[in-house]
Symmetry: C2
């Protein structure tokens, strides 16, 4: 077959273009398009639909920048977008970074990939969305790899240029002079841009999330404790593990099976292994009887020995991954084959969800950019959206049976915010895990700091404490078979923090409700808290002929503490560190455990103990809690509610509840009560009572001792 | 100004195309073009011209592959090229890599940049040329960033596919199954390809080099010892340094001045600093009187305070580098301003050449890909060729005064082979330096393992020994002011190896002559030696949940020894290692110092000494030497020649000489004598005697003791 020839050999549109922003499509949301963008983009690839009814309740906003200062030009198949930067402006987002928060001064190539210890744009969620500290954000709705120059390029025509300095004599010479612009190169002959303005950065993020479909509420069991068993465990091994958790009295709501459940893995068959799992129905039933949900690891590359292979083959790309075919999930036919298979083989048997591995990278085993797909979707586009496509494909099946799923995935992009998945990876730095949680909150994704192994009991405990304050608390023992009690010297403390999470579930659950109802991330960066001073410091470094020939400036920023919901500040301790500093947002803050005042408008030094993860609550902060239970079943069946009140300021909390397992909440079947404290007087306001209220009675507890 | 609009919105040419290779343009050289390639490419950007008269003397060759197996397709502005790979085939080249030699199994994005410790394609010479162990090579003549999948992608339609394995049970499962193809993605709507076939890999490289313009012969002084003085040295400091070298009796032919000679640096003025160098003419004259040439560091970004700033400004790009403007050296106007300035300010004063810094990267201070240049050359293209352009711009000035230059540069690409420059960088791993020498020989560039500082006297000596067996022997003290005698405990040995280099200059010089006359790299990989077994070993690794979750295969290959010319094998020792293994090509090999047989068809273990760098000579190998002298002037003025003969086999050596300073050799003004040994009988054959013969008399020395 010969190639389709185009009669026209003239260059495509090229030169500067003026974007027409027009009227806001929703309050504080503007959309424009220049040139001839690709038909496929990040949002339409998964039919992401704005939550109009909520967006329309948001405040009206002014267009944040002078439109003439947004320079766009088309160049020989590429689109270049430039925006102005103020001197002190900070830029957040632009992918799931693990080492830096403020991206100003960085160059990123937003490229879906596994994260390899460098914030260069190659990561599990290279979302082309940024938020400016000036209170606006921009989504570049393109599935191509985008180059972002975040305040690095200095132009000859700069309005406010840095001065040239003589490195021979001027100690203020810098290898990276100040830049007053932000430039993006998009390898597409046009692009769709969506600009967001809010009352503050959190409001910008929430409008971005709502525009992309808004967040999700996980099933209640999903917020319990997860344990992934070693890859070659049999049904009996797994049953024994579950029994051990019960005997040891450690929380457990979900057991995750790793590759061994497949008859063939890497690539995957999606058929049960007849030896390790001879009777999956009975196995799953037995687990469910113990109130344990089962989650299955997979990668979506289909083994030649899978029973669905022949059916799905016609809808796959030119290249294989580990010799498995790569379904083109943009095609309904491919989705149908896959969906029918997993429904029959897993969903109908009671499987609660999946861990979708290997949809991120790395380059050396995924398809190359040279690959082709039957839909005509190009390889780089497919790379950018593959995780989203697989989530969407699975999601539909669970919605069809009106059962919430919750799982893990290695790749998410813009448009994935409404899929109930958290990202994980193979990087295992405890500190990076925290920075990951922080950055996930800017871009509409979730990140879990799971626990695997540890060098010491102390490290094990610190990681346990962190995962219990993440979106999905998980011990992943796939390779080394660790258990919560693998470090007996800290088992008691591990138990304590796991049970503390179980007590806090009403608080966590309401935080997720805000994600769905308001687009506000439940786990979020301090930078999204009003009154938090997150200025990045630049520190001069010493010249070293070989190690530091350019005296590169070092950046210091707050990247080791975060918020859960509006009230709870989490400041994890790391192995070997019994003390740390915590930067408090403005106002008074209180110790979660004692209710004591810890500081006001200051950076505090916290002396930690092995037993506890440092937690702080804002003045007037309300934290609803339930009695400790090993499984979420107790919570669903109904528990008394203890409402903790911190500090002396007035406060209120929006407590959300629903059936905890179906998608009926999306049809309005949920309840909301407003918990108020005014001048020491408490009240409970019924806002909505459309089902799923699981709290028997309410008691208040004022944590802060009278002065 | 509005953008030029194109009436046509139809897609560009897309789909598979069949390249027409036609007749060889030179023996073993085929050229083809598909689609609509960019007007600018790597070779025409510097008007690289094939050495037709030499190429035409090469043997005729068959087209090495079935043309139908070279698959090319055009896709929406990109060109994808695919070639077949045999099971054991090795792929060399594809840029100046520092850690790996065989590139098979790697994914590279060929992108001009500083090297940052990862062979990922971002390097100082991302030359899009590869050589196959099957004895052919391919140049992708594109100035765009090219993605290379070197035997990684496995296609569904593979002719001999790997079998899918079950990772659960099959210990032979691999994260990287065997791939039978090589794929390139070129972001251009067509491309020019040039394919080379030779009698062996060295012959392929030589045809590639000859096609790109062939190598150069440095001035004789360039092969002496170089010393770069601390950046803020004054003329008096430098004079003192020169005197110290004389007093200490250490070789010195060139002194390099670092940024301090400029009145302003980073960006550069190219004007002399009135305080540190009040009288450059006198300073240079004084140096020249001591037979010392002066080389000047620079980066080509022009300071607003340079006396050429106003003139060059109109011919610069939209972005600055350290607030200096970036001349568009594709424009004759820009070249002219720069050339006139350096001629008047430096060349006319006797400056011998430049060290051209910062033309490689890194991204965070060079212009972004969003930049525009007055010529219309796109930012990525400019990035790929900038080093070549600056070398060419300077080169012309030296040719105009018929004076050879020799210098250093941080970026070279295809087409730069004929420019007399060696590459250096800020990576300072001694082992990587050797691998750099090896890889430079595949792609028509030179790499120097300069010496800076060291952690110990031993390390200092080992680095000194290596630099003395490189293309440009240099101590770079710009930042830490080290001298050859900074480690007194090893000064004697440093002196010895520096003088040994001076003795070997006739051999080195003839090796460079082969570079110019035959395209054969003077410093070369063992893989280019016939009878060398360079198979890469793959070693299985142990699963580790966090460090090695995919049991990635480890590669072991010979990357710490190399050849100088045809006869001399260099096997450097590294600090802390008094012993090493050396892989000998087939045949007998002899110790350079003693003439003793060291091995035959084997891998030998060499016990080193602190005093010497291990050197070996092939059977029948001839090494012409002169008496040790501190400067090359003695050599030029005429020296007796000692011809060392190793082993017992017959041998011959082509000894080249010329005036050592002008470009007259390019017009045929040089002499060649063939030195022969047959059955122990020696003879000297006059091949060419057109001037520049500087050897007084010839004596033979049979190094290998009779048995």
């Amino acid at each position: 077959m010969a190639g389709i020839l185009c009669a026209c050999s003239a260059p495509k549109q090229t030169g500067p273009v003026q974007a027409q922003w027009g009227q806001a499509v929703y309050p504080g949301v503007w959309k424009t398009s220049v040139g001839n963008p690709d038909k496929l983009n990040l949002l339409n690839a998964v039919e992401a639909t704005p939550k109009a009814e909520i967006l329309n309740t948001k405040s009206q906003q002014e267009f944040p920048i002078n439109p003439d200062e947004i320079k766009i030009s088309l160049r020989n198949g590429k689109t270049v977008v430039r925006l102005p930067l103020d001197k002190e402006e900070q830029i957040f987002g632009l992918g799931l970074n693990f080492k830096t928060v403020d991206q100003r001064g960085r160059i990123l190539r937003l490229h879906m990939d596994h994260y390899s210890n460098n914030d260069n744009g190659r990561t599990h969620a290279p979302v082309p969305f940024f938020i400016s500290s000036k209170g606006y954000g921009l989504l570049i709705n393109s599935a191509r790899y985008i180059d972002a120059y975040v305040g690095t390029g200095v132009r000859v025509d700069s309005k406010n240029p840095p001065e040239a300095r003589d490195r021979n004599t001027d100690s203020n010479w810098s290898a990276n002079p100040y830049s007053d612009n932000l430039e993006f190169v998009i390898p597409e002959e046009g692009v769709e841009l969506i600009l967001f303005k809010g009352d503050n950065m959190l409001d910008v993020v929430s409008r971005f999330n709502l525009y992309c479909g808004s967040g999700f509420i996980p099933p209640k069991w999903g917020l319990g404790f997860w344990h992934r068993t070693p890859t070659r465990y049999t049904d009996e091994n797994v049953a024994q593990e579950a029994a051990d958790f019960a005997n040891k009295n450690f929380p457990l709501d979900v057991i995750g099976l790793e590759p061994g459940w497949h008859s063939k893995a890497y690539p995957c068959s999606f058929d049960w292994d007849p030896n390790r799992f001879p009777d999956p129905d009975q196995f799953i039933q037995k687990m469910n009887e113990q109130n344990i949900e089962v989650n299955l690891w997979c990668n979506p590359y289909i083994s030649p020995e899978s029973s669905m292979y022949e059916q799905i083959l016609p809808y796959c790309g030119t290249h294989t991954v580990w010799c498995g075919v790569v379904p083109d999930y943009t095609l309904p036919e491919a989705r149908k084959v896959f969906q029918q298979h997993i429904k029959k083989a897993q969903l109908d048997k009671g499987i609660s969800g999946y861990k979708i591995d290997e949809v991120d990278g790395n380059d050396s085993w995924l398809w190359p950019d040279a690959a082709e797909f039957p839909s005509g979707t190009e390889a780089d586009q497919m790379r950018s959206i593959y995780g989203n496509l697989v989530m969407k494909t699975v999601d539909k099946e669970y919605r069809d049976i009106n059962k919430r799923t919750y799982g893990l995935v290695r790749a998410v992009n813009a448009g994935g915010v409404s899929f109930p998945y958290v990202i994980y990876n193979d990087n295992y730095s405890h500190r990076d895990f925290i920075t990951g949680i922080i950055n996930s909150s800017f871009i509409g994704v979730m990140w879990t700091p799971e626990v695997r192994g540890s060098g010491s009991g102390e490290e094990w405990l610190r990681r346990m404490q962190t995962t219990c304050f993440g979106p999905l608390a998980q011990l992943n023992a796939w390779a080394d078979g660790t258990k919560p009690w693998s470090y007996p010297e800290v088992y008691k403390q591990c138990q304590e923090v796991a049970f503390l999470r179980m007590q806090l579930l009403p608080y966590f659950y309401s935080a997720f409700a805000d994600y769905y109802l308001q687009g506000e991330p439940p786990f979020r960066a301090m930078n999204l808290v009003e009154g938090f001073d997150g200025k990045t410091q630049k520190i001069k470094t010493k010249l070293d002929a070989t190690e530091n020939p350019y005296e590169t400036v070092q950046i210091r920023e707050v990247k080791d503490q975060y918020m859960v919901g509006d009230n709870l500040l989490v400041a994890p301790l790391f192995a070997g560190e019994m003390e740390r500093s915590v930067v408090l947002p403005k106002g008074k803050w209180y110790d979660f455990y004692t209710g004591e005042l810890v500081g006001e408008n200051e950076i505090i030094q916290v002396k930690g103990s092995l037993d506890k993860i440092p937690l702080f609550v804002r003045d007037g902060g309300i934290i609803p809690m339930i009695p400790a239970a090993r499984q979420t079943k107790a919570w669903i069946e109904g528990q008394p509610l203890e409402i903790r009140v911190y500090g002396t300021a007035d406060g209120s909390f929006t407590l959300y509840d629903d059936d905890g397992e179906s998608y009926n909440y999306e049809k309005g079947a949920y309840s909301i009560k407003k918990l108020n404290v005014q001048k020491g007087e408490t009240s409970v306001e019924d806002v909505k009572s459309d089902g799923g209220w699981s709290y028997k009675d309410i008691s208040w507890k004022f944590m802060t001792p009278e002065k």
